[in-house]
């Protein structure tokens, strides 16, 4: 027993800590890749269907928008429970890092989709029109105008989303997904070992800082609007 000390580093099993850190990073990166792809697709769908006069397109926009809002509103811890049966079907288990992925993706993708939509709306309407006037097709406008012109906003949005995903992985960890959250809860909180809670916290903060640094660096590199 450590008597509640935060600094009993001898009690820390560094092998476990390393494995948990890796699980957290793995969950974050894998879910973020899926969130980025899904978010851009959903955001694009929302953007393209916003100003339509066609009833079917309007209805599609309304439905997608509604679902995005619903999933953004559900607290993550409840979403995990809600998705348990689906997760079990999909992954075959409800324990471990892989089992956390469906709920991580479902909760973060709508969040990112809204950011993507906003980023597209911030592109100068005139630039899109210029591309149209040059005879660009809808698809060419997407990958030659919308994506490159909104890239700094997409990357900084992805950074924010990644950081909230790291928070979610810790929460998922508390109910069996593994990673630093799980370790802090089982080996730390339940075993009254505050040192483990502290070390897990510090590592998570460092991971957040690293992602933030990478995101900021990339935005500075790609943003050519002001020099």
């Amino acid at each position: 027993m450590t008597n509640g000390s935060y600094f009993a580093f001898k009690t820390v099993d560094w092998g476990n800590m390393g494995a948990a850190t890796w699980e957290t990073i793995w969950m974050t990166i894998v879910s973020m890749i899926a969130v980025a792809i899904l978010g851009v697709l959903l955001g694009l769908l929302l953007f393209e269907t916003t100003a339509s006069n066609n009833f079917a397109v309007k209805a599609l926009n309304w439905i997608v928008s509604f679902l995005v809002n619903v999933f953004r509103s559900i607290p993550f811890i409840i979403l995990i429970m809600l998705l348990l049966p689906i997760t079990k079907n999909l992954v075959g288990t409800i324990i471990g890092p892989t089992a956390a992925l469906p709920s991580l993706i479902v909760s973060a993708a709508p969040f990112y989709a809204r950011m993507v939509e906003l980023a597209f709306h911030e592109i100068d309407r005139g630039v899109i029109e210029a591309a149209e006037a040059m005879g660009a097709s809808q698809w060419q406008i997407v990958y030659k105008v919308l994506l490159p012109e909104s890239m700094p906003a997409l990357v900084s949005g992805a950074t924010v989303t990644t950081i909230s995903l790291i928070g979610y992985t810790a929460m998922a960890g508390a109910i069996g997904a593994g990673g630093l959250g799980n370790l802090a809860y089982i080996d730390g909180f339940q075993a009254s070992n505050n040192t483990i809670v502290l070390v897990a916290t510090v590592i998570i903060v460092i991971i957040v800082f690293i992602f933030q640094f990478i995101g900021d660096f990339l935005v500075r590199r790609i943003d050519k609007r002001t020099l």
Binding site: D124, G126, A131, M134, G135, K144, P148, E149
Partner: protein
């Protein structure tokens, strides 16, 4: 040749139907620079946006070189758009691309092979005078340079028509002239038809061959720039022409008021010269024939248009009425347009 035939465009807005363009008939010949002038909201932008299908007319049709452009859609319309270059007031360049890559954009759209794209874009960079700035980003360029990129981009697919939508309105007077000179040079070099939309009569006078004046969606006056400047028919045209012939009109009025106060018996006349008249020694002729008459120049200016010079001159004549009347008769004899501004 571009033909607008009874073209009408009505927008359905919440406040009811809004007619932006009403029954416009225009013919733009190959290789000419056609100016469309009007205040904002006159419908000139909407009119030209129908030329490349950014807007669809609700009535009438538009033909380009005999092909009907109205009613085209999908890939047919996109093909046609590649042959219509357009430059914009706010340049509308992609900030994420360098100068060279911005110019390559329309070539990518048209599916030109990579090597050819690069060669062509480089050639256009040289043509618009941006050699050495190929790898700059738009944010590193001045307004005039940005518009040069805009012009180069618009020329990339060898267009049949170039539309200039208020392309000089965001530029300072000197840069405006540079861009206008560039357009004129391109027009002469490539025999490219240019449709120039503007609210500045200055731009019209400087490079256009023909002009149409728009007001509330209608073309109220059209003709050669020279004729419209010399003899404006409509009130709105007169306003535009006056702004241009005498940009410091308000200053002149102050000067006139002062002179009227200082010389209550003076006669102030406005003279307007056209073409070769501007070269006649009119003032010295008056002084020569009426040595007792005092002649002082209040203000004068001469503008070069595509077809010749237009000049205005404000003179104050002081002397007995015989001399003044004689001078006026002399002016009439020389066929100078004369108007007495104030006569006490």
């Amino acid at each position: 040749m571009i033909e607008f035939k009874d073209v009408t465009k009505t927008f359905n807005t919440k406040e009811g139907d809004l007619t932006a363009v009403a029954d416009v008939n225009l013919t733009i010949e190959d290789g000419e620079i056609y100016g469309i002038v009007g205040y904002s909201g006159a419908g000139k932008s909407t009119l030209t946006r129908m030329l490349n299908g950014l807007e669809t007319p609700t009535g009438g049709e538009i033909d380009i070189n005999g092909d009907k452009i109205t009613g085209l859609s999908g890939s047919e319309l996109r093909q046609k758009r590649q042959k219509i270059g357009m430059i914009f007031q706010h340049f509308n360049l992609l900030w994420s691309r360098t100068v060279l890559k911005n110019i390559m954009f329309p070539l990518e759209v048209a599916g030109v092979p990579r090597k050819e794209r690069k060669e062509k874009a480089q050639h256009l960079v040289d043509l618009v005078g941006l050699t050495g700035r190929e790898n700059s980003y738009p944010s590193e360029l001045s307004g005039g340079q940005k518009q040069r990129v805009g012009v180069a981009r618009a020329l990339a697919n060898d267009p049949e028509i170039l539309i200039s939508d208020e392309a000089t309105s965001a530029l300072d007077p000197q840069t405006t002239d540079e861009v206008l000179d560039l357009l004129l040079e391109i027009n002469k070099k490539m025999n490219l038809s240019i449709v120039l939309i503007t609210h500045e009569m200055h731009a019209i006078r400087k490079i256009c061959d023909h002009v149409a004046v728009m007001d509330s969606g209608r073309v109220v006056e059209q003709g050669t720039v020279f004729n419209v400047f010399r003899n404006p028919q409509q009130e709105i045209t007169k306003r535009f022409v006056n702004e241009e012939v005498d940009p410091s009109l308000s200053d002149t009025n102050i000067v006139l008021d002062d002179l009227i106060k200082s010389y209550p018996n003076g006669t102030i006349v406005q003279l307007v010269f056209h073409g070769d008249q501007a070269k006649l020694p009119i003032v010295s002729e008056i002084i020569h024939q009426y040595p007792d008459l005092q002649v002082s120049i209040i203000e004068g200016s001469i503008h070069q248009t595509q077809e010749g010079a237009i000049g205005t001159l404000y003179l104050q004549l002081i002397g007995n009425s015989d001399n003044v009347d004689g001078a006026m008769a002399l002016l009439k004899k020389m066929r100078v347009e004369t108007e007495v501004i104030h006569h006490d």
